[in-house]
Amino acid sequence: MTVTLVQGISIALFALIAGIDFWLEGFYIFRPMIVCTVTGFLLGDLRLGIIAGGLTELAFAGLTPVGGTQPPNPIMAGIMTVVIAHTTGHSPATAIGLSLPFSILMQYIILFFYSIFSVFTKKADEFIAKGEFRKFGMIVLMPTVIVAFAYAIFSFLSVYGAQSLMRTLVNSMPGWLSHGFTIAGGILPAVGFGLLLKSMLKTKYVPYLLLGFTAACFIKFGNLMPVAIIGASLAWIEYGRKQRENKINKQFKDIEKSLQNSGGEDDGI
């Protein structure tokens, strides 16, 4: 199936909005879960969009912009996964893999913006110093506008412009290659989880990881709520425990203080 011009434009418009949202981290409609669903809807295949949304969301679960870094772009990944699956008939799992180049390219574009937007800061300082608040507001919002248009243009080119090239490329892939992409799509979440662990996992949390893993292995249920509830219960118990420990530590500190006072300057006697 092909993407019509109208579809291409409407996707580009959505990319513009989602792009602003990602830039501001406002409503999280930039996450693949939403991006895929909307893209699917715009292409007339809502169900495909939703399913791809589930898969891609997980594949990107740990790929976060924490600390001002930039992960592979979730918007382009979401859009292109659905577009590729829709136009080439491949499964979403395979399509995730094929969408990645677009995602990484967009990541670099944003990184480039981060650097050049520094040029606005000098002007901003001046406007503030002069008390010209409206002009200050406009120059501060400028980066958002630029980013928005970048999303619109890049996604329009990717979705509409490159589609025949894309189709030829994808259709000429041998079986083992597309199977390889499918497999990669299934393994990809491991990268995200690895990243999550990198920032969360201390030695003392390993047992909880193992408990959650084991629970999920043996509780047969369609979603992760059971594991989340077990985790929440354990967290709750730990919360109470830590509070009591903190109280103990505070008591120790109080005692130490009064020990120092009574030992050092016993002027009351």
């Binding site: 830039w23 501001l24 981290e25 406002g26 409503f27 999280y28 996450r31 879960m33 939403i34 939703i50 949304g53 589930g54 679960a61 740990g62 790929l63 600390g67 893999g97 990645l100 981060y114 937007f117 520094s118 800061t121 901003a124 503030i128 110093a129 008390g131 200050f136 120059i139 980066p143 083992w176 390889g180 992409f181 497999i183 299934g186 393994i187 990809l188 491991a190 990268v191 989880f193 999550l196 662990l197 990198k198 920032s199 969360m200 949390y205 909880y208 990881l209 959650g212 084991t214 629970a215 999920a216 043996f218 369609g222 992760l224 594991v227 989340a228 709750w236 919360y239 830590k242 903190n246």
Partner: protein, 270 residues
């Protein structure tokens, strides 16, 4: 020394704080590598500071200049700090007190905020809604959207919290935040364990032909016999090790995973 101004400072209304919470949305609008969120942050603070300083335009400009310093914090923690800052300005605290508090707090609070929002809420919401979505149910994106819409609205009470907390509560926040972060980590790690088991899929298709009619499936008769999902767990830990100890770039790992997948597909192993 600032006694002269003290009488001129105006109080913010509840509505002002609500507006501040909503404006915190623009925290990242001017994002750049030089001073990160500073410009957007200041933009969000303007209306509140305008009202506080009223006629005192020089005071206002001084305050805004002070806000235009490097800052990079979690976006749901930003309204907390903004509310706090506003309450300090209102009470005519020392300029240096206000500034140093903002600088002292944005880092630690970013840590806690990231732990809760990026590393706990996101994977859990993603994990649960994805399980709906993968069955093609609209519940998936719907619930996802509702949760994050609520998260957006949460900026309002968070801003109020920061405003009412004032200076006194700071040591308290600091103290409890460690506990909250601990509990969040427990929850987060448990869920990630579950996510690994559920969403990372590695199935070895190789079969060993013992005799003409008798074959042994590596996956079913070996790996699944040891522990279910042992390969996903192993591979995730391998990536974790590369990320943590070898400081490998995530994009490198994505590419690696793809190359490996394609290679193993070609070899007929996966």
């Amino acid at each position: 020394m600032m006694e002269s101004n003290k009488t001129t400072r105006n109080k913010l209304s509840k509505k002002d704080i609500t507006k501040l919470g909503l404006l915190s949305l623009f925290n990242q609008s001017g994002m750049n590598y030089q001073r990160m969120q500073a410009d957007g942050w200041t933009l969000a603070m303007i209306p509140s500071l305008k009202k506080i300083y009223g006629e005192d335009k020089n005071g206002l400009i001084d305050a805004l200049k002070a806000n235009l310093q490097f800052i990079n914090t979690n976006n749901y923690a930003a309204p907390l700090l903004m509310g706090l800052g506003a309450s300090l300005e209102e009470n005519n605290e020392n300029r240096s007190t206000i500034d140093s508090l903002r600088v002292a707090l944005f880092g630690p609070i970013a840590g806690i905020g990231d732990a809760i929002t990026w590393f706990t809420i996101l994977p859990i919401v993603a994990g649960i809604t994805a399980s709906f979505a993968q069955q093609g149910s609209i519940l998936g994106p719907l619930v996802f959207f509702i949760v994050y819409f609520a998260m957006f609205l949460a900026r309002i009470p968070i801003a109020h919290l920061g405003y009412s907390a004032g200076t006194h509560a700071i040591s308290k926040i600091h103290e409890n935040s460690a506990i909250v972060a601990h509990a969040a980590s427990v929850l987060g790690c448990t869920v990630i364990g579950g996510l690994i088991a559920t969403y990372v899929q590695i199935d070895v298709v190789t079969k060993i032909h013992v005799t003409a009619s008798h074959t042994i499936s590596i996956q079913k008769q070996f790996f699944d016999n040891i522990f279910p999902n042992i390969l996903p767990l192993g591979y995730t830990f391998f990536l974790y090790w590369l990320l943590k100890k070898k400081n490998v770039n995530p994009v490198t790992l994505i590419v690696l995973t793809f190359l490996l997948s394609i290679l193993l597909s070609w070899m007929g192993i996966l």
